[in-house]
Amino acid sequence: MAEHSDSATAETFEQPTEFAFDSASRAEMATILAKYPAGRQASGVLPLLYVVQRQMKRATGSAWVPRVAMDAVARELGMPPIRVYEVATFYLMYNTKPVGKYHLQLCTTTPCWLRGSDEVVAACRKATGIKGWHETSDDGLFTMTEVECVGACVNAPILQVNDDFYEDMDAALTAELIAALRRGEPPPRGSMTGRLNSAPAGGPTTLTTLDSHPAE
């Protein structure tokens, strides 16, 4: 029978014992909370959890939301802690346990899968040594997570690293990307085959004869 490994009662990692918003977070929070009418600040729970996750990334290199931070958000917004736990565990973009420095989020939804996401997943596993989902490599650099459609199907398959999309992936490009990340030299985000945004691969295929600057 499938046990729930991500149940709060089966933690294999350590939760920090305290959390305080830093000044950068405080500034972000002020902007966010100003958007809500007085007494409705609880609506800001989603962006605030994201503030927490970014602060954790800055402070520890791992973008996640520890429980004490959820308590801090609850205090900040005057809501019962359980209501914050509910939100934080519902949305998959909040990591409720630590992730590696590079959070590899692999889309395996139909378009990416048709364009070879299985290959990308296999290449990731080979390069990082990670066996299952939600696992972190022994060196703490990589965590692999399977995600649903990230909305960039035209450039499928997609490998999202932290907040950046790497597009048009295949096995070789994935191995190269991971090697570069390992060296601490993340390449620029976008298509890895060199095309501009989602322009046709190998250059324009239409309007090729149109002279945009006709001679007078």
Binding site: M1, D6, S7, A8, P80, I82, R83, E86, F90
Partner: protein, 682 residues
């Protein structure tokens, strides 16, 4: 009103009702799991599907669909049956087939409705999901794999109990109901989660694997562990009380019950007095009834009435109080007291000592002042009523006394009784309100200047418009189930009589304690002969020279008066253990021995005498609402209020009387939920 046709029956329901309510009004049963009359609508179990004509051709969740005039509803069409079967199949996909070892078996909504809508085989061959059990404390047992995620428990904890500690974490197949961070529920109403859970996910921990519902004999009765007088059902098997459940009474407890009242019953089997004991040479020896009676009669012989006294405890029923009062009168004694806490009282009028607004009346009030009381510990059901009113909105609440977390916002004015005699901006709020009320706790009355506080509170009530011809906003919240009945019977020092404090320290030569354990028995004079009549071997019995075993509230037909002044009757569910007998009968038998036979032999005769003593005892269960006809206040000088801070009467909700102190479950609750007090007790 909207006219709705349900299966051909035309009913009129108020606008804003939902379709499910219309179906109920038409007498049609609609199966449901998540919907509950007293909770917000979640609409997530999808079991209450019905078909509505001229609406989109799909089944509708009737609990979450408002009625419209002229609506035609079918609750038993082919489409409805098919849709419900589909929902049931989904619910059963992940529900374990463990009914034989499930405590909910026999009283399980899912089991019952699966009879109607379940398939005979499962088409599901994949693994079922398994969920780790949660630890919610010593009262609620969890088997979370059985949870069908109706979220009733979450809504109850958040809305009714006012402790938002339960939630649904994660999503989809991984969704779990729990506290996320393991902790015991901090509510005094947590036992109600067991009742509202439609499946066996939340069951009673102390009652686990004890009995099946069809083995139990059910007796309707009244709870005596606080002064609310919650209506209960006592479930027994043979000579044992196995559990206590709430019984519906909209005027008192709705359908809820406090944890102490529900779970302290295991104390009824422990430390019981089941035989007479007589002290000889400093040691208690087992004795027969005649021997015990002879010992008392021998002592009383030749004793002047003024040297004999009686004190009644907090669990005493009206019949025994009456018999003991009559016995004392026959012996020529006016030394009677029912107030072990020495609370000030004025019995000139009944509204000086009862909860006049009535518990249901709280819902009409529009401002509240609490004085020296923590209703959450003293009467959790009454506190739930205040919260219900507070949730409805526009209900300012302020308190004078020690701060407490009451599950609603309270503006604490400070713990200075002198505030009562001064003026405070909040008093203007009370004056502006149409139906303001105040609740005066025993913490404000059980003190040397109690009479002054009582008078000052009344004066404040009069000044702030609480005493109107059609509204009575002055309320005394008692903590003892026996108190109002005893006051109605004037179980108080008569003319020239001594109160309990005066009887102690050698004020009397013979002291009859009717279940009185809540005072320092060390203060009884060394040479005072003590008769203890009661059901538990607690402080009173330890000091006694003669012990007469009595019946607990589950073991007698008895009358109690709650803090509102509502006269209610409890019924015998099991026989008293061993030699123990109903208390009024014991007193009657003893009166005969000493040649002063009380004039009643049957419970009917006692009750006729009760009505004679005070006509209120004729008014069973019903509590007429009344206004304040007379604003003249109780005796006492309002100006004499001292500024000594109030002290709350109930330090530990879980252990307040002999039954709950004998209960291992209540001891566990104290350990888990009041750890500071548990350590102090050791």
């Amino acid at each position: 009103m909207a006219k709705v046709t349900v299966d051909g029956i035309v009913v009129e329901v108020p606008n804003g009702s939902n379709v499910l309510q219309a179906c109920e009004a038409a007498g049609k049963e609609v199966p449901r799991f998540c919907y509950h009359e007293r909770l917000s609508v979640a609409g997530n179990c999808r079991m209450c599907l019905v078909e509505i004509e001229k609406a989109p051709p799909k089944p509708f969740a009737s609990c979450a669909y408002p009625v419209a005039d002229g609506m035609v509803v079918h609750t038993d069409s082919a489409m409805v049956r098919k849709a419900r079967r589909g929902v049931m199949e989904f619910l059963l996909i992940n529900h374990p087939l463990d009914c034989p070892i499930c405590d909910q078996g026999g009283e399980c909504d899912l089991q019952d409705q699966a009879i109607g809508y379940g398939g005979d085989t499962s088409r599901y061959t994949e693994n079922k999901r398994a969920v780790k059990d949660k630890n919610l404390g010593p009262l609620v047992k969890t088997v979370m794999t059985r949870c069908i995620q109706c979220t009733r428990c979450i809504r109850f904890a958040t809305e009714i109990a006012g402790v938002p500690e339960l939630g649904a974490t994660a999503r989809g197949e991984s969704m779990e109901v729990g506290t996320y961070v393991e902790k015991a529920l901090t509510s005094e109403l947590s036992g109600n989660l067991i009742d509202i859970c439609p499946v066996g996910a939340l069951t009673s921990k102390p009652y686990a694997f004890v009995a099946r519902p069809w083995e139990l004999k059910k007796t309707d009765s009244v709870d005596v562990l606080d002064a609310v007088g919650a209506n209960i059902r006592i479930d027994t098997r043979g000579p044992e009380v196995l559990r206590v459940l709430p019984r519906l009474n909209e005027d008192v407890n709705e359908e809820w019950l406090g944890d102490k009242s529900r779970f302290a019953v295991d104390g009824l089997k422990r430390r019981r007095l089941d035989a007479c004991w007589v002290r000889r040479d400093g040691k208690l020896h087992k004795a027969s009834w005649p021997e015990a009676f002879e010992a008392i009669a021998g002592k009383l012989k030749g004793l002047d009435g003024s040297r004999i006294g009686a004190a009644a405890g907090n669990l005493a029923d009206a019949e025994s109080l009456l018999a003991l009062r009559d016995l004392m009168t026959a012996l020529g004694s006016a030394n009677l007291d029912c107030r072990q806490d020495a609370a000030a009282v004025d019995v000139a009028r009944r509204d000086f000592y009862s909860f006049n607004t009535s518990i249901a009346g709280i819902e009409e009030a529009d401002a509240l002042l609490l004085i020296g009381t923590d209703p959450r510990a003293e009467a959790p059901l009454l506190n739930a009523r205040i919260r219900k009113r507070w949730v409805a909105g526009k209900f300012p609440v302020a308190g004078i006394g020690p701060q407490a977390d009451l599950t609603y916002n309270v503006e604490w004015l400070g713990n200075d009784p002198a505030l009562l005699t001064g003026d405070h901006p909040f008093f203007q709020v009370l004056r502006d309100a149409k139906k303001p009320m105040l609740i005066l706790g025993q913490g404000a009355l059980a003190r040397p200047d109690g009479a002054a506080v009582l008078a000052a509170a009344w004066k404040l009530a009069a000044e702030t418009g609480m005493l109107l011809p059609d509204w009575h906003g002055f309320n005394v919240l008692h903590t003892a189930a026996a108190r109002v009945g005893a006051l109605d019977l004037r179980f108080l020092p008569g003319k020239g009589g001594k109160d309990l404090a005066a009887m102690l320290g050698g004020g009397v030569d013979a002291l009859w304690l009717l279940g009185a354990d809540e005072f320092d028995t060390g203060r009884i004079g060394a040479s005072t002969f003590v008769v203890y009549q009661g059901h538990h071997g607690d402080r009173g019995a330890a000091r006694a020279d003669v012990i007469l075993p009595g019946a607990a509230y589950t073991e007698k037909n008895a009358t109690y008066v709650n803090t509102e002044g509502r006269v209610q009757r409890g019924f015998l569910a099991v026989q008293p253990p061993g030699e123990a007998r109903e208390d009024w009968k014991v007193i009657r038998a003893f009166s005969q021995l000493i040649g002063r036979t009380l004039p009643y032999d049957t419970i009917e005769a006692v009750r006729a005498r009760l009505e004679q003593a005070n006509p209120v005892f004729a008014r069973l269960d019903i509590l007429p609402r009344f206004g304040a006809a007379d604003t003249a206040g109780p005796a006492g000088d309002p100006a004499a209020v001292s500024n000594a801070p109030f002290v709350l009467p109930v330090a530990n909700y879980y252990q307040t009387d002999v039954i709950s102190r004998a209960s291992p479950t209540m001891a566990q609750c104290t350990q888990t939920l009041r750890p500071a007090l548990a350590v102090a007790a050791e």
